[in-house]
């Protein structure tokens, strides 16, 4: 019991500590791919600390909601991130929310972020909120179809059980899983405001989505939201790793050595994911906002196709 609780807490702190590192790592790899030196790996931590120490400047019209929302977003994202098994399966509180609830928690964070964008009553904030919600309306059904595929296969929406199923020999080679993986990657790219949907490095562009909602934030509020954004990226990577490459995860009841192996495997997976994301982002160009619907429509289609094909293979 105590050991379980310790592991759960270790996971919460681990994701919190690793999230800025992952962001910094991706920036570094991208810079190196472009033959630039790039900022140091620890730069995101320094940015966060600097922002935390500054005073917060609020727009004249900003309400109390504007000041509360950063903490709400951070809390929802952090809770979601600590419910996804990262280095160990079967955490103590894993059962308190399944995959659907984790996705809905991220939906809560998005809901409040979009509200924050509209609070100051500026035109850019409105642009960001409206586009973010448009993207979400397409990404969410796609995610649910992926959940269906996984749940039909594993007979569960509990992430630990799904990961356990993926480790078992029963899983076999399935085209549906491939489709679900591709669709999940597409959704993750859209949800985390990465290229080609949105550019995380831009700050003054008519096409920005995520950054447009944050324009009025400063100081500690901005720091908390940036941390939540890093956490969300980490969460999606952990989710993909947990579902599609669960090897190396410590199983419940595993001793300290199993946990250490789990942590090492987890960090290796994150690094691999970071390199792949950086490669992808360097290789493609950003698309027009109204092409996003085609991109996410394709993700939805892949999810649906995955579910349909699963019926064929299951009914035989």
């Amino acid at each position: 019991m105590i050991f379980d609780l310790a592991i759960q807490n270790a996971q919460m702190l681990l994701v919190l500590a690793l999230a800025p590192l992952l962001t910094g790592f991706i920036r570094k790899v991208k810079a190196r791919l472009l033959r630039r030196q790039g900022p140091p790996l620890l730069q995101p931590y320094r940015d966060l600390l600097r922002l935390l120490r500054k005073e917060a400047v609020l727009a004249e019209n900003a309400s109390w909601l504007f000041r509360v929302i950063p903490y709400l977003i951070f809390a929802a994202t952090w809770v979601a991130a600590s419910l996804v098994p990262t280095f160990a399966a079967g955490l103590m509180f894993n059962w308190s929310a399944d995959l659907i609830a984790v996705i809905a928690l991220l939906g809560s964070a998005r809901f409040f972020l979009a509200l924050a964008g509209m609070d100051a009553g500026t035109s850019f904030g409105g642009i960001g909120s409206s586009r973010e919600m448009m993207i979400a309306t397409l990404a969410e059904p796609a995610t649910i179809m992926i959940v269906f595929t996984l749940a039909l296969l594993a007979g569960s929406t509990q992430l630990s059980v799904v990961a356990g199923f993926m480790l078992s020999p029963a899983v076999g080679l399935r085209v549906s899983l491939g489709l679900a993986l591709v669709a999940l990657v597409m959704v993750a790219i859209a949800e985390n405001a990465r290229i080609p949907i949105d550019n995380p490095a831009t700050h003054l562009e008519l096409t920005m989505v995520h950054e447009a909602m944050l324009l009025e934030y400063s100081g500690r509020h901005l720091a908390v939201i940036e941390l939540a954004a890093s956490l969300k990226l980490l969460l999606y990577m952990s989710l993909i790793a947990c579902v599609f490459i669960p090897w190396g995860q410590a199983q419940p009841g595993g001793g300290a050595s199993a946990q250490m192996i789990g942590v090492a495997a987890y960090i290796a997976k994150l690094a691999a994911g970071g390199v792949l994301l950086a490669l992808f982002e360097t290789a493609v160009a950003k698309m027009r906002v109204f092409r996003v619907s085609d991109f996410l429509g394709a993700a939805l289609m892949l999810g649906l196709l995955g579910t349909l094909l699963l019926f064929v293979s299951r009914s035989l």
């Binding site: 609830a101 939906g107 509209m118 009553g121 059904p141």
Partner: protein, 675 residues
């Protein structure tokens, strides 16, 4: 007469009688000053008592007795009974009534013509109670029609304003059509012997073809009342036209009475279901969910947005009912119990948050006199309490954890995930598609309510009225606060809700979900722990703890200095509030994505040549396809026939006589030829 214990139909009937008495007294009293608080107060007290009775019935088990009053058809009498299903819906109806009456005490003061509202409000409450209590077809239909007429009178309370007269006209036509469909359905159910009591219908059962016909008629009758697409056209016209607390009752409660009618007939009276009945119900539910919320996103009138979003929620409920039919027909009783629990849970939830939202819209209307979202804004500064309570409702209806909307939607998804065990291919393939539709509608609902809250309560005021707004009275606030507290409780402790619905579900499907209250940490487990579980309490606690921990740590260890400054807005701040995003501009990306297929949207941009000083304009046209493709042709056909028949008025006596004569001869001929 049964003894007057609080859990008996006689007790509920006496509450109805009290409501009717209030209605009668309000006819002469309505013109008096200060009549409104008295009437609403009396309604509040009566509804509270009735709510208590219903809750006792629901939790302690329904009473066995039923009441027969010597009313109505002489050889039938009027039967009334409370079983578990009726008790649940009585609780929902009276909870809504309590909230609306409480709200009305404050809101009713601003009524310009109270004599047009006060008598009908208690009558409407009595009508809804009676529908649920009725135990024979005759009193059911009578109560149904009474409810429709009372609500119609309330819709017409402000008949001189805007489109309200037309709304009332469309409403009365659709309501009559719905009652007609139900009348025919009951006729088929009663069979040639004419057993109109529900007990007789149950014993009698229906043959397969006539059962299918009854299902179709009930979908038309109850579906049109509930607002199922494409029978929804009256709803977004009529619901906003009534005073706001009545809108809340119509959207939050009366649609649920229609759902009750559907459940009563299809699950209770009709006998064993066939698997394919699930198909039309699921398709209608999924379609309504997406269409309703898409239309809601395109509206600019606050109350109309809420009315369209009701269609979405009704769609979700019908998806749950369709799943129940599909599982039940195949003998998967546990899965059917899960789906029905989800549907009923959502019935309860929607009654809560839709009432808050309509109350909030009423509060905004009182404070500013505006319903157009593009003339509002910034109300969070002037109406802090209202905006906080509306925010809770917006989050709940957008299915955000840990609130109640998410709990019921999560249960629906869990039921959908059980669908692969169904043997029929049609269902197997349709249900995941419906699941995708539900996910789409949930995401669209989130967008819709970000838009509602963001435009109305956040930002800067867009008109002088919005600038001069003030907080509403304490009665209105307390009505909203009561419901918001229930939203949070039902979301955090869904296990108790599921357990209290269990007896209803048990009576209809012969199974119940596993008891939830005894589970560790009060989490909910629909099927098995290895399959899925959700714990609203822990999620709530985790979020609250980590948010306050983060806030405390940062304020303590880092900075807590705050400075106010003009908005940054990327270096282009503009003092004019009209540069903010408006309701239409917010929904434009979504309209671009879905509009051309769903609304046949057309955009025309009028861009002046360089040097020309006139403003650029964008003109967007949206069309309601259901109206154009179904109703307009019907209306045309009716007026065409009417025009033809009109000629009959101007004939000579001789021609009239010959018409009668030929009709007589034709009838005789038919009789002669008849085998």
């Amino acid at each position: 007469m049964a003894p007057m214990i609080p859990a008996s139909p006689a007790f509920a009937l006496s509450c109805v009688g009290a409501l009717l008495a209030i209605a009668v007294l309000a006819i002469p009293g309505g013109r008096l000053r200060d009549a409104a608080p008295v009437v609403y107060g009396a309604c509040l007290a009566t509804s509270l008592v009735a709510l208590g009775g219903a809750l006792i019935c629901l939790l302690a088990g329904p009473p066995a007795s039923n009441v027969v009053l010597p009313l109505g058809l002489p050889w039938v009498g009027a039967h009334f009974r409370i079983d578990a299903l009726a008790a649940f819906f009585l609780a929902v109806v009276n909870l809504g009534a309590v909230a609306a009456s409480l709200y009305g005490i404050g809101y009713g003061r601003h009524e310009s013509e109270p004599q047009r509202v006060l008598p009908f409000f208690p009558a409407f409450l009595a009508g809804m109670n009676l529908v649920v209590l009725a135990d024979d077809a005759f009193s059911f239909l009578l109560a149904w029609e009474f409810m429709s007429l009372a609500s119609w009178a309330l819709v017409m309370a402000h008949h001189r304003e805007g489109d309200n007269a037309r709304a009332g006209y469309v409403y009365i036509v659709m309501a009559s059509f719905g009652t007609l469909a139900l009348l025919l359905a009951f006729g088929l159910l009663a069979g040639p012997e004419g057993g109109y009591a529900f007990a007789a219908i149950r014993a009698h059962g229906a043959s397969a073809p006539s059962a299918a016909l009854v299902l179709g008629l009930v979908l038309l009758g109850a579906g049109s009342k509930a607002g199922l697409a494409p029978l929804h056209v009256w709803l977004p016209l009529a619901h906003p036209a009534a005073p706001s607390h009545v809108s809340a009752l119509m959207s939050g409660v009366m649609t649920k009475v229609a759902v009750y009618g559907f459940i009563r007939i299809v699950f209770d009276l009709l006998g064993p279901q066939a698997w394919w009945w699930g198909l039309p119900v699921l398709a209608a539910g999924g379609g309504s969910a997406v269409l309703g919320v898409l239309y809601a996103l395109m509206q600019n009138d606050l109350k109309r947005v809420l009315a369209y979003s009701t269609i979405e929620n009704i769609g979700l409920i019908f998806v749950g009912l369709g799943l129940t039919i599909a599982f039940e027909a195949n003998g998967f009783h546990a899965a059917a119990a899960l789906a029905l629990t989800a549907a009923l849970f959502h019935v309860f939830n929607h009654a809560l948050f839709k009432s808050i939202l309509f109350f909030g819209a009423g509060a905004v209307l009182t404070a500013t006199g505006e319903r157009q979202m593009d003339r509002l804004g910034g109300l969070i500064h002037k109406m802090p309490l209202t905006s906080f309570l509306v925010l809770i409702a917006c989050a709940a209806i957008s299915a955000l954890p840990p609130l109640n909307g998410f709990a019921s939607e999560w249960l629906v998804f869990q039921a959908i995930l059980l669908s692969p065990q169904l043997p029929q291919w049609g269902l197997k393939l349709l249900i995941p598609a419906v699941g995708a539709l539900l996910a789409l509608s949930a995401a669209l609902a989130a967008a819709c309510f970000v838009r509602v809250f963001g435009i109305v309560f956040l930002g800067r005021p867009r008109s002088q009225q919005a600038r001069d707004a003030h907080e509403v009275d304490r009665w209105s606030i307390s009505a909203m606060a009561m419901l918001a507290a229930l939203c949070v409780i039902a979301g955090v402790l869904p296990g108790f809700m599921i357990d209290s619905i269990a007896s209803v579900v048990d009576a209809l499907t012969g199974a119940r979900m596993p008891a939830q209250a005894s589970l560790q940490w009060l989490s909910i487990v629909p099927v098995a722990e290895s399959r899925s579980s959700y714990n609203g309490l822990l999620v709530f606690a985790f979020i609250a703890a980590s948010a306050s921990l983060a806030a405390y740590a940062i304020h303590r260890l880092a900075s807590q200095a705050v400075r106010r400054a003009p908005a940054w807005d990327c270096g282009f701040p503009d003092p004019s509030p009209s540069t903010q995003y408006s309701a239409e501009s917010f929904s434009q990306p979504i309209q671009r994505v879905f509009g051309s297929y769903v609304f046949k949207a057309s955009e025309r941009i009028d861009m002046p040549a360089p040097g020309d000083m006139r403003p650029a304009r964008i003109k967007v046209e949206l069309r309601d396809l259901a109206w154009e493709l179904i109703y307009a042709p019907i209306a045309q056909a009716v007026s065409f026939t009417a025009e033809r028949l009109n000629r009959l008025q101007f004939l000579t006596i001789r021609v009239y006589l010959s018409l009668v004569f030929f009709a007589l001869v034709t009838l005789l001929l038919a009789l002669a030829v008849w085998p």
